[in-house]
């Protein structure tokens, strides 16, 4: 069944809520990554509010799909999405990175129910997701495994070991999504260590490849749906995203990879005004998203 316009609008509103919370939590934390989480808000909204089979009230429910976040540094978007989906109170997001919090700087499986695996060190998510997909299939279970990855982390060798394994074993219950935002800490991926031709690489490793606009809810949902119909192959969705999406001062600027609002580089917005200005920008989204507080 095709997704309805009502659903799309609902998910877009959730994406905006997720973005606003990301800014608020990073302001409170005074450290953390900004660009990646904002850029992935649409995909996380689509996952937690449409694609995933899950139950926020029973995070360990056996029948759930598994969501592995390989690039753990974009944890704020996962925490924000989980909170808005009902895993824990949205106010708890403000404890991000603070002493005693369940919301560690990089997500930990043993700290927060609903986090399937600990991540941060890059390049190890796809192999863990592949292990989960393999194990679930051994037991004849129908749950799907989703793995979110960054583009920069594809420079890790472990990723390609996992690609060989997933291809060999035809893990059709595995859907991976690459956040193709073209930035990494030291600059643009194609300057630091080029990844292109990226889609061809994954095809060569026996993945079914789908390229989408990572900010278009309909494309995200349709790609995830199509992946379920692909037999004998894992699916790789290459989601073209704009890092920092939703805040013009951040969009596309690699210098925002690892800086929080209030400390980031901006010619137009002084540091002490960044939180307020960015939140306002997210809430209006250029007038594109209707919402009660736009």
């Amino acid at each position: 069944m095709a997704i309805t316009d009502t659903h799309i609008t609902f998910i877009e509103q959730k994406a905006r809520d997720i973005r606003a919370t990301i800014i608020e939590m990073l302001l409170a934390a005074k450290s953390g990554h900004t660009a990646g989480p904002l850029g992935m808000a649409d995909i996380f909204a689509a996952l937690y509010f449409y694609i995933l089979t899950h139950n926020p009230e029973a995070p360990d429910w056996e029948g759930r799909d598994r969501l592995v976040l390989s690039n753990g540094h974009i944890a704020p978007v996962r925490y924000s999405a989980m909170a808005h989906a009902g895993y824990f109170p949205v106010e708890e997001c403000l404890t991000l990175r603070k002493f005693g919090t369940r919301l560690q700087g990089h997500p930990e499986r043993t700290k927060l129910p609903g986090v399937e695996t600990t991540s941060g060190p890059l390049g190890s998510g796809l192999s863990q997701a592949s292990g989960m997909a393999y194990g679930l299939r051994m037991d004849g279970k129908k749950n799907r495994v989703y793995c979110l990855m960054s583009d920069g982390e594809l420079q890790e060798g472990n990723t390609w070991e996992a690609a060989l394994f997933a291809g060999k074993n035809r893990l059709s219950n595995l859907t991976a999504i690459i956040d193709r935002n073209n930035i990494q800490i030291d600059g643009m991926t194609e300057d630091i260590m080029p990844l292109e031709p990226l889609a061809d690489k994954w095809r060569a490793f026996n993945f079914h490849v789908i390229e989408i606009d990572g900010h278009n809810i309909e494309e995200i949902v349709n790609a995830a749906e199509l992946a379920k119909a692909v037999a004998e192959k894992p699916t790789m969705i290459i989601a073209h995203t704009i890092p920092g999406k939703g805040v013009p001062e951040i969009e596309g600027d690699f210098r925002w990879h690892g800086n929080p609002p209030g400390k980031g580089p901006s010619d137009k917005v002084p540091a002490d005004k960044q939180g307020e200005v960015f939140l306002k920008e997210i809430r209006s989204m250029g007038g594109k998203v209707p919402h009660e507080y736009a």
């Binding site: 598994r66 592995v68 930990e108 499986r109 043993t110 399937e116 695996t117 600990t118 991540s119 941060g120 060190p121 190890s124 192999s127 863990q128 997701a129 592949s130 292990g131 989960m132 997909a133 393999y134 194990g135 679930l136 051994m138 037991d139 060798g157 472990n158 070991e161 996992a162 060989l164 394994f165």
Partner: protein
């Protein structure tokens, strides 16, 4: 004299002993664990013959997973399998696993606290002709520093079998260390084994040195102990299979009885078993400690016996070191 409670092979010093590697013990133990529990799986990184992982494959082909030459992937795939209820043994040479994939083990197995059993084969200089690249001598240090990780270093094939089976029931991450060379099987079905417990092998009313040994050096330690006692230096020998957590109570008791402690390991003395013992003693009961092992150097090619003798880890070397230590 030999401790009868250890139920060792009768007439240990006179009998012709069966000789097997501790990796053989892994082979039989993993098959037994697989029979006990349907969730047990064995992962291999292109070394199934020499790790004995193929013994499991023969029994349970559908639960054997071949990853090719990719130890980082093996550790992380295993973490994923464990997260959905499997109990994976991951098998390779210790130089590569945990040598190459240490960070993956740290983050996705130890910090995740999932029950993956890392099986490092071909540990120690007794690997022999392959030389220094393949003789892992730093793995105990690497693994015992890791929170949530249990470290077990069995003494012979029979104890290795028991340790392999016991590890599957832990529900925790564990590191099991195995050797390539055939060594005498000195324990029996009745020899006690439990994770976290040291085992007294050789006792004396008034020992003057307490020898603590780990891994496949126990028989060498026993031969040395017998000679030393005959020559007027009574010693005790305690085998410590579980390097982490240490059986602190047993070790302190033996140290108090003897007043001097000597440690044996096929490993660097820096950061390894001897260091772990010294840490406990210095905090609780400081006594002079002599650590035998590799002293900040790599191994080399040679036959296992030649190499153990060269590095002072066979019975004559242990005896000589004990005499010098005793005379201090």
């Amino acid at each position: 004299m030999l401790n009868s409670n250890a139920k060792l092979v009768p007439n240990l010093f006179e009998a012709k002993l069966e000789s097997k590697s501790t990796r053989d013990g892994f082979g039989t133990g993993s098959v037994a664990a697989g029979k006990e529990n349907q969730n047990v799986v064995v992962l291999s990184a292109d070394l199934k013959e020499s790790t004995r992982a193929e013994w499991f494959e023969k029994e349970f082909p559908e639960r054997f997973i071949e990853l090719g030459v990719a130890e980082q992937n093996m550790a992380t795939v295993a973490a994923g399998l464990a997260a959905v209820g499997k109990i994976p043994y991951i098998t390779s040479y210790a130089a590569f696993s945990p040598g190459r994939n240490w960070e993956q083990i740290r983050t996705t197995i130890a910090l995740n606290d999932v029950p993956v059993i890392v099986c490092g084969m071909h540990a120690g200089v007794s690997v022999g002709p392959d030389g220094a690249t393949h003789q892992m001598l730093e793995d105990i240090a690497l693994m015992r520093a890791m929170p949530n990780m249990i470290v077990i270093n069995p003494m012979d094939a029979e104890e290795a079998r028991k340790a392999t089976i016991a590890a599957a029931a832990l529900g925790k991450p564990a590191y099991l260390r195995f050797g390539r060379a055939n060594v005498p099987v000195i324990t029996t079905l009745e020899t006690p084994f439990s994770i976290g417990k040291a085992l007294s092998l050789y006792a004396h009313e008034k020992p003057e040195i307490a020898i603590f040994t780990t891994g496949a050096l126990a028989y060498e330690a026993l031969k040395a102990a017998k000679n030393l006692e005959e020559k007027g230096i009574p010693v005790s020998v305690t085998h410590v299979a579980t390097v982490k957590p240490l059986d602190t109570a047993s070790l302190l008791q033996a140290a108090k009885q003897a007043g001097k402690v000597m440690t044996l390991e096929e490993h660097q003395i820096a950061g390894g078993f001897g260091s772990a013992v010294a840490e406990v003693l210095s905090e609780h009961y400081p006594v002079p400690v002599k650590r035998l092992g590799l002293t900040d150097e790599f191994g080399q090619s040679g036959e296992p016996d030649e190499l153990l003798a060269h590095y002072g880890l066979s019975a004559p070397g242990i005896e000589e070191a004990a005499r010098a230590f005793h005379a201090l």
